[in-house]
Symmetry: C2
Subunit: 369 residues, 2 copies
């Protein structure tokens, strides 16, 4: 495989010519060419190893051998639609049902999270006979027309807000209207939703659904993905019971991050991506909100971009999120270890310290070309 | 694998309990349990071999070893999103571009035909600044909300026609307003579209796009599918050059079908799935329109359902389509051979002859329970 590799500049030139520029690259100023991945690591065309803090879609790690083998065994035998009877799809549905409340007992297997949310919207509208939707501010529910319409994160830059969409404030206890010092921010945010719904109803609008973040969704209408996911579930159980593979405790990162030396630029504020007002990170999904100033909590957008680029130079893949694009978004595969967390934290610390020195000596935070 | 099989009745019971009934089964009165497939054949849990005239999605045949191997090799190495540089995606785009007119030179790789059509609609609307869409009657463009809105096949049974959707008559030279005996049906149908557009514009409507059947689309945003499709292209070339694998000439079926003995019930009318008014089948995609009466051309809906069920009992998988569900829809994988066509035609002939006798002796066409 390595023998056939194009030089990176050639791949980039072809990409710019042939693939729409709407299909964004990570680190657009100097994209990474990834040719291989294993577990929590990705490798570029030079063989350099990156710690992956981005790709939680690879739940049990990139190219997990059990998952790869299961996909291969299934692909050799059958890969077709679900209009024939097959054990895999029903057995996987059964297995899922055992992890869910009793009422959630009928399954649709779809092609993507977007297709799942589109169907959820159709089901809600069909069931209620209503059209309107309540969503949270800054939410993203998928890349289809129907979901862009209910994603403030998207529609604000595109067609704007439709009359049947009602936007509730994000229950953000750090920058929103009700903060840590509020007596009961959960209740206060819930009351905002109530008020929004009442006000919509007074205008004669009828609510079909409340979308609070993307609904849980599972890809794969065809049979192998069902086998794949089933195998992912297996691998998760098997891998987590192997002592030789030390998985990070779900909150290892969350407990580690706030503890590390904090330069003045850094505010170790951990914020979940959505709804929850008390947890500051769910499992390995952790947000770190970078601010310029403690009083105003102004998002440190440029600093976050700079930090992520510097991390990439240091072989850590990380991305930002949030309306101010100032939140470092950690969502590594679940095989991310405590050692990985320590390495990432050490690198973050070194870069932040360097940034602090640069800021102190009035240097601009600019990446080496 | 076979050792783990549930009895078919158990699989069916679990399916009915766990999977939404909107996810239809083929042959719902007696569904087939398929456990394995190879080339143009599918196998049930008893090992019975079916000739597959349904699954053209498996372009080069089910579980083609070259395709399976390519997927496996890629899955072992890397399976991630397209936000990193990678050769496969650009090389495949390059390869596709070489088969297309020069203007079609920018590519988006998506997850499904539905996601592709949804994006096409967004692109058209963004580019023109218009909202309205012209579609053909009975068309189906995908299963997403945005596409159900422009699919008469779907919206007639659901929310009805939106004011921004304009439905042109299907250019059907068999049952439509302009038929075989018309001097220039192509022009006549095109003029219908012109009139529809003018009339919409007079009412102040602005057309963004004309959807004539599903746009060509290629699945797979992630890298392996790109490898997969590339391998499909390879296999297609390799396989078609192997003399030991006698592929059906694209029009073998089309030439064979009208030639076989025609009982009176049968009218060997071949009709393409869409637009073209002269071709009566494109490649291996052939429609056979069953009618009750030559003068009225009344769709023989029940007869088509009966025929398809009988074929299934005779180990031929076939489905129906069309507004009257009376069109036998042949769309086998491309490895379908001339021998397969002869076998299918012989079985069809035997069943039709039997049906004709039953009808002559006033027996009801009813399937054995």
């Amino acid at each position: 495989m390595a023998a056939d590799q194009r030089p990176k500049a050639d791949t980039l030139a072809r990409r710019q010519r042939l693939i729409s520029s709407s299909c964004r690259l990570f680190f657009p100023e100097d994209p990474v060419k990834i040719v291989r991945a294993q577990g929590q690591y990705m490798y570029d065309e030079q063989g350099a190893e990156y710690i992956d803090c981005i790709n939680n879609v690879a739940h049990v790690g990139h190219c997990h051998p059990l998952v790869v083998q299961a996909a291969h065994e299934q692909n050799q035998v059958l890969n077709t639609n679900s209009r024939y009877l097959h054990d895999t799809i029903v057995d996987y549905a059964q297995r899922l049902s055992e992890t869910l409340p009793e009422q959630l007992c009928v399954f649709y297997f779809l092609n993507s999270g977007s297709e799942a949310n589109d169907l959820a919207l159709r089901l809600a509208r069909h069931y209620t006979g209503h059209q309107d939707v309540v969503v949270l501010d800054h939410a993203y529910h998928g890349h289809l027309s129907s979901l862009i319409d209910i994603s403030p994160y998207k529609f604000r830059n595109l067609d704007g807000q439709k009359e049947w969409v009602h936007v509730a404030p994000l229950p953000d206890t750090y920058r929103g209207p009700y903060r840590e010092d509020h007596l009961n921010p959960a209740m206060a945010y819930a009351n905002e939703v109530k008020r929004l719904v009442s006000s919509a109803q007074e205008k004669g609008r009828k609510i079909a659904a409340f979308f609070a973040e993307s609904l849980p969704s599972v890809g794969g209408q065809i049979i192998p993905p069902a086998g794949y996911f089933s195998q992912v579930a297996d691998s998760r159980e098997k891998t987590s019971s192997l002592t030789s593979s030390p998985w990070a405790s779900p909150l290892a990162m969350a407990t580690l991050l706030p503890a590390w030396p904090q330069p003045s630029l850094w505010r170790g504020h951990l914020k979940p991506p959505a709804l929850s007002t008390s947890t500051r990170g769910v499992g390995l999904f952790i947000g770190v909100d970078l601010i310029k100033d403690e009083a105003t909590r102004t998002p440190a957008t440029e600093e976050a971009a700079y930090l992520v680029s510097r991390l990439k130079e240091n072989y850590v893949l990380l991305s930002t999120d949030g309306p101010g694009r100032n939140i470092l978004k950690f969502k590594p595969p679940m095989c991310f270890s405590l050692d990985n967390a320590r390495q990432v934290v050490a690198k973050l610390d070194a870069i932040l310290t360097d940034m602090e020195e640069k800021v102190r000596s009035c240097e601009t935070l600019r990446l080496q070309p």
